[in-house]
Symmetry: C2
Subunit: 492 residues, 2 copies
């Protein structure tokens, strides 16, 4: 009846691909590692983008747009950042094609159109933006600059996965400039909180707020704050990062301002971003073997109504009752579709909307009408109920809130049950292999030990949680003293 | 007092650059031919984008996203399209940088990371999209596909101008697929009308709807519809195009569908786009020697309120009256800023908002308060009036509508006065050189004559207006018979 989906138990990875492809979110493309975001997936992204964009504007940020290309000499100016991204850079070397005389009808790169300086396709925009800020900042009166950009970026990844890791992806990158270290750190933390708020209250995705270890920091940052989420297979996923960049980029691009005492100082910086990767997180956190499960607050479609009828007369009667209901739902700000197409059967439609994760399905048949009821099915729990048509709109409104809450609670219960404290190496390995999830363990604080643990187990330090309790202990690997536990996990 | 702007009479081109730069719309960047769109300019683009996006959705279109890169072999598949854009293509040839051992701290393109097949940075997306549609279309039930994409594109232009012609620009590109020629043509025309509606009713920019001559068609199209606008210097500007692509791309990418009779047919296509170039058109159509003039319906800020006071006591009294007014304006959907910053004088602020083209300025001083009035200045005509504070919000609302209408009427009167019919070659040249604007003249219909006229005068056929009256005449250049006049102009 419906398109077949591999079950999670059978093959989690294939289940994920099935959902993304058959749920209509994305498609593979002819370009290695690049995907096509299909209309349904893009509508989801638009909803997420619009909510985030409002949050950014409500916290005083404005959008702008900077060039796609970064001249190599600018790209390499902040050395750590450049080094971190060099291996993943797509590079434009020529600006013209010409007819390939040896192959009529074909084109070739024109060797005479070689650029004097190669252009890097932005993997992130600190370099081009800080080179621009140099011209915008003279005095403390020009600060802060609170700018965000919605853009595509390219990172030439060797192993790609739809949404989770693609060569090109869509994201937003905030780039702010401040007069003091304190203000920049406050901004970094504020934007982390915006991301956590968005993840939890809109995506229904519980996250742990934390700080990265030095090894896992963004290249060029002094501190990387992050939100970490847990997927259903027990692997962690970094859902957003906010970086305190210190004066690294100001120094690389010589961006100084005169302060109130007319003294020249380097500017302090932050950057922060989330990407279409969040869609991958959403799919893997909530969905089931029947298809996508989408939180109502960001679902492209919240309610679908399917009429069940024989003949035009029954259909007309159902229409008569449904059309005012649609108006009522729309007036309440609920997105609704009346799927009365007659080329597919109701059963097919049920499976299709289940696959697409539409939170609420209303089915109305001729007998329902007689009884003044409709069948209301919720996608998350698959529960069905017969609901009186009187006041059904307000019932739906409440139900959507319930579903949002229930999806979050379920994900949170799962996440909480999968944070396992361990005290020995054997326990650590055993939990990773048999239970997975986050493992809370003591670590001696060195990059060396962290690296060794990663080599041995593929687990990385996901974060040092904010407000982490201080607690004396010994490192699970080195046995050296430790002052706090950190969260390890295998991750996407 | 204010930043200096070159006058139009002195140097029209410099006037334009001054407005874009000093009005805070855009900035030059370190990348040849690429610009930075500054927050104020981007807010304007966001307003334009949001209106257009709603228009597209209201006409049944959905957004999606396709890869930035197009493999060369796909790019060259539709030969005319490829030929038309080949000379402007930025090409990615490598996917990695590495340390330049000869220059410590510098990077170089890694010669070992050469792509097997070069990737073209999209100058337009027909190729990658039709290669994707091939997988989406099997039967007539899959049609129509009505998809739009908001994206950046790159065309390596040799001479660039901020907004008007940049190597990278932002745009939207609609790409639709249909079962019949008639339906595709109807879509092409419908979207032209959407563009004309947007230009006239939102941008206050009167446009002529028309069809391009064969020489001026989009590469790969069977017909290109366009809207043409007139700038204050008498040059024309193509403000939007909508292409009927026939079956050209379906044939190049082998996209067939089985129709109701189960017969395989090639799919019919359209594409249509407008870009950040529209911002250039907006600036050049309406602005004056004091700065930008922006139509209220798309202005990032519609009303600015400037208090004029001495001392905290006067300020407090003004605040008391202004804050409820702000609430009232906001409740009416009007964007308003209260500029009570104390580090610049009112005169400076007046000049600044004039420069930025804020449609309405309200100034309130202590004496105004005593008289229960405020000074209301409109940007377009620079008229000032003393307006009673009672009911001022509704006055402002009406005023914004008046300004919108007045800006349009002024541009339309100018445009209409600058469509000059001529019947001889001497007249034609004389009008182009002395009056400029659109010249309505007979043409023999051949590409040869058109090319010759362009060589001799730099004027091109802007369009053959829709519903053009048929009228016998003789071609201004060749003297051969002609059945209708067409519009010539020098153009951006």
């Amino acid at each position: 009846m419906s398109k077949e989906i591999t079950s999670r138990e059978q093959d989690y990875s294939q289940w994920y691909n099935d959902l993304v492809l058959k749920g209509g979110l994305a498609d593979y493309s002819a370009v290695r590692g690049c995907m096509v975001i299909k209309p349904y997936g893009f509508a989801l992204w638009e909803n997420m983008r619009d909510v985030l964009d409002k949050m950014f504007k409500d916290t005083g940020h404005q959008n702008a747009y900077f060039p796609l290309f970064i001249p190599k000499s600018l790209f390499e100016a902040e050395e750590k950042n450049a080094e971190g991204f060099a291996k993943e850079c797509a590079v434009v070397t020529h600006y013209r094609l010409k007819n390939d005389t040896a192959n009529p009808g074909k084109l070739m790169v024109d060797p005479e159109a070689k650029l004097e300086e190669e252009l890097v396709v932005r993997p992130t925009s600190e370099a081009i933006i800080w080179n621009t800020y140099k011209g915008w900042i003279q005095s403390y009166r020009d600060l802060p600059i609170l700018v965000n950009q919605w853009a595509n970026v390219v990172r030439w990844e060797m192993r790609t996965r739809l949404f989770l890791r693609t060569a090109e992806f869509l994201w937003q990158e905030g780039h702010t400039a401040h007069a003091t270290r304190e203000e920049a750190i406050a901004e970094t933390q504020k934007m982390l909180e915006v991301y956590a708020d968005f993840a939890e209250n809109w995506m229904a995705l519980p996250v742990i707020r934390g700080v990265k270890s030095a090894n896992e920091r963004f290249a060029g940052a002094e501190d990387t704050y992050c939100i970490e989420a847990l997927m259903q297979d027990g692997k962690a996923l970094q859902a957003g990062t906010s970086h305190f960049l210190g004066q690294n980029f100001a120094k690389a691009f010589d961006v100084k301002f005169s302060d109130r005492e007319n003294k020249l100082e380097y500017v302090w910086a932050t950057s922060w971003g989330v990407s279409t990767r969040l869609i991958g997180a959403l799919v893997m956190a909530h969905s089931d073997d029947s298809g996508l499960v989408l939180p109502p607050r960001i679902a492209p479609l919240q309610v679908v109504i399917v009429p069940i009828y024989k003949g035009d007369e029954q259909k007309a009667k159902i229409d008569e009752r449904v059309l005012p209901l649609i108006q009522e739902l729309k007036a309440a700000g609920i997105s609704v579709k009346y799927d009365d197409s007659d080329n597919t059967r109701p059963g097919w439609k049920f499976a299709e909307y289940e696959m697409k994760g539409v939170p609420v399905r209303i089915a109305i048949g001729a007998r329902d009408l007689e009884n003044n009821v409709a069948e209301v099915a919720r996608r998350d729990t698959k529960e069905k109920a017969s609901v009186s048509l009187d006041g059904i709109a307000s019932h739906i409104k409440t139900l959507l809130n319930d579903i949002q809450e229930q999806i979050y609670n379920k994900a949170k219960a799962f996440r909480d049950a999968n944070i396992t404290p361990v005290n020995t190496w054997d326990e650590f390995v055993s939990v990773l292999d048999n239970k997975s999830g986050f493992v809370s363990a003591h670590w001696d604080g060195t990059g060396e030990t962290e690296e060794k643990i990663k080599e041995l187990t593929k687990a990385t330090i996901r974060c040092i949680p904010l407000d982490n309790p201080q607690e004396a202990g010994t490192c699970i690997l080195s046995g050296k003293p430790s002052t706090q536990r950190v969260l390890f996990a295998r991750a996407y």
